[in-house]
């Protein structure tokens, strides 16, 4: 019988700890499928963050390092500089990447560090129980913005792809979502393009994935998907923000 679908080899057959309806599982699968399709599991090293995906090292079949909070791009830099022929990716949430790790994110991007960043943006700190994230929307209620995010007090959300696209070291920056089958397919294509850019030595690549957090948003998974479409997508438009995957970032003054 022909196999029409199976678990990617790069994703291990273990139960995950993610909440029901959480889209981390979908994103893990996409990354693993890309690793399979590019045939790079044996020379790929993942760097996982502090946040809900802190234990992602248990799910990916490639080698993996658990980084201090926000430092994944620095750890990835060390791994990549040590063995440049390896494929190194980070998998980070919004608090990790755009709050505590902003400096590491910006500087690895501007160095054109030849790594791939998978940035899962669900607008909230999930693991600690739903506090305001740097990407929490204005007015959004979280445990630490009980009256909604007041931009007079807490400032504005960061649009990461837009910000990073101003830097000369960025080869590829795209924002995708995993709210529907067509968008999931686009997300996978973006992830594959980002990994491919790295393999070809083009420079820093990032795929921002709009994701849900039904548990901490206080919705059912289906409601959460709709909330993402209605609220996150207008604020964080999907699309390609930088594409230098042809020419690369070297001598890109």
């Amino acid at each position: 019988m022909a196999i029409v679908y199976q678990r990617p080899h790069a994703l291990l057959d273990v139960p995950t700890h993610y909440c029901p309806g959480c889209t981390h599982g979908v994103i893990h699968k996409l990354v693993a499928e890309v690793i399979d399709e590019l045939g790079i599991e044996g020379n790929t090293v993942g760097v996982v963050p502090v946040g809900c995906s802190v234990m992602a090292y248990d799910y990916f079949a490639c080698d993996a390092v658990e980084a201090p909070h926000g430092r994944a791009p620095a750890v990835a830099t060390g791994l990549k500089r040590a063995i440049p022929t390896n494929v190194v990716f980070t998998y980070q949430g919004d608090g990790d990447l755009a709050a505590i790790g902003t400096a590491e994110t910006v500087h690895s991007a501007t160095r054109g560090e030849n790594i791939t960043v998978i940035f899962v943006n669900n607008g909230i700190y999930g693991m600690t129980g739903g506090q305001m994230a740097p990407t929490t929307l204005p007015g959004q209620v979280t445990q630490t913005t009980p009256y909604g995010r007041d931009t007079d007090i807490a400032g504005y959300p960061i649009r990461v792809c837009e910000m990073l696209s101003t830097l000369s070291g960025v080869a590829y920056a795209e924002r995708v979502a995993v709210d529907s089958v067509p968008n999931i397919k686009k997300a996978k294509a973006a992830i594959k393009k980002a990994f491919t850019a790295q393999i070809e030595g083009k420079g820093f690549s990032i795929v921002e994935v709009l994701s849900t957090c039904p548990t901490n948003w206080g919705f059912t998974p289906v409601e959460a998907i709709q909330w993402l479409r209605d609220n996150m997508m207008p604020y964080y438009p999907l699309g390609v923000y930088m594409d230098r995957t042809e020419e690369g970032v070297k001598h890109n003054a």
């Binding site: 044996g42 079949a61 993996a64 390092v65 620095a74 750890v75 060390g78 040590a82």
Partner: protein
């Protein structure tokens, strides 16, 4: 650089050259006085040997780049001075908790806070007690000459690899900035097989390796930490080092490390010339601490004097080692003020009742 030839080198540059010769081809740094020559030297040499010199965006990033490179199984290092080491303490804790080897250099300056830029030894507690959060130790080497800085870099890398833990060279602004003649020995670099744990890509030939310090099950974390502490016991038994100078008949034993041990030695020579029976114990490792050497001296010596460029930090360890068998007093300067041999001599004379 040709080996076996005596050259005049700054401590900071000698540290860097020694690291390269010890097989470290990955350096991640950030400028801070008085250690910047380490980074400058690396930036000159690394491109010529195909190594990595990277100026990080912060001390925090630099130590985490070391974490990444060490995970990949290569010899990696960073260097800084006191305020920068505080920033690195997060990474040091993670590196220790992930059982990774690396080298950290601290060319100490006065603190706390931004403090000053002159030589100091006031990071002793930080290095030996709390280099980061959690139950952990790092290997701490305390050179007192430029030659010893070179030799200890080799030892530090080797023992870091052997015991899979961070090692620190605890120097100070005086040692970092001064020049002395130094010989780079034809040392055989001892290498270790890291395939069982390094995240260097499994090449479809082994299960995936994971570098990690997270253990959510309390019992599992306890087991992991206890395992590490069993290793620490082995290290304490085997790796503590101290130099003894005129201790055998000494009634007063001065304990000092690094730059202050040099000053103490001058004072001891002057005191001996006057007939005062005084000797020196110079710890070469600060963790593990050479307590046994001091305990042995405490069987015969009548008193101890600890000299430091701090308000008195190592003196705690001397008191623990002496264990009440003799009085232990302290003399020091802090904030970047360097004690003079004359001051130490006068302290020795005070404690021994002057000329005999």
């Amino acid at each position: 650089m040709a080996s076996n030839q005596k050259v005049l080198m700054k401590g900071n540059e000698a540290l860097a050259e020694a690291a390269i010769q010890a097989g470290c081809h990955h350096f991640f740094g950030y400028p801070i006085t008085p250690q910047t020559e380490v980074a400058a030297y690396m930036s000159k040499r690394m491109p010529k040997i195909g190594g990595t010199y990277l100026q990080a965006e912060s001390e925090v990033a630099a130590i985490n780049m070391v974490l990444g490179a060490a995970s990949a199984g290569v010899r990696a290092m960073t260097s800084s001075s006191s305020p920068g080491i505080s920033l690195k303490s997060e990474g040091i804790s993670y590196i220790a908790g992930s059982d990774l080897p690396c080298l950290i250099i601290n060319v100490q300056r006065g603190g706390p806070g931004l403090g000053g830029i002159q030589p100091s030894q006031s990071d002793y507690w930080q290095a030996t007690r709390a280099p980061g959060h959690g139950d952990l130790h790092i290997l701490v080497f305390a050179p007192s000459t430029i030659q010893e800085m070179v030799d200890m870099v080799f030892d530090a890398f080797e023992n870091a690899d052997r015991y899979r833990m961070p090692a620190m060279i605890l120097a100070d602004g005086m040692l970092g900035q001064m020049m002395e003649p130094v010989v780079f020995p034809e040392k055989k670099v001892v290498t270790f097989d890291k395939e069982s744990w390094a995240t260097n890509g499994h090449k479809n030939q082994r299960p995936h390796n994971i570098v990690n310090s997270l253990y959510l099950q309390a019992t599992e974390l306890e087991r992991k930490v206890k395992e590490r502490f069993e290793r620490y016991e082995v290290i304490k038994a085997k790796e503590a080092r101290a130099e003894e100078y005129l201790v055998d008949d000494a009634e007063l034993v001065v304990v000092a490390y690094g730059a202050t041990s040099r000053i103490a030695r001058s004072a001891i020579n002057s005191a001996r010339a006057k007939g005062v029976k005084v000797g020196l114990i110079r710890p070469q490792t600060l963790w593990p601490y050479p307590s046994a050497v001091i305990a042995k001296a405490a069987q015969t010596a009548k008193a101890f004097l600890t000299v430091e460029m701090s308000m008195g930090q190592m003196v705690d360890d001397v008191r623990l080692a002496v264990n009440g068998k003799a009085p232990v007093s302290f003399f020091g300067h802090t904030g970047g003020v360097i004690p003079t041999p004359a001051e130490v001599l006068s302290e020795i004379e005070k404690l021994t009742g002057g000329d005999r």
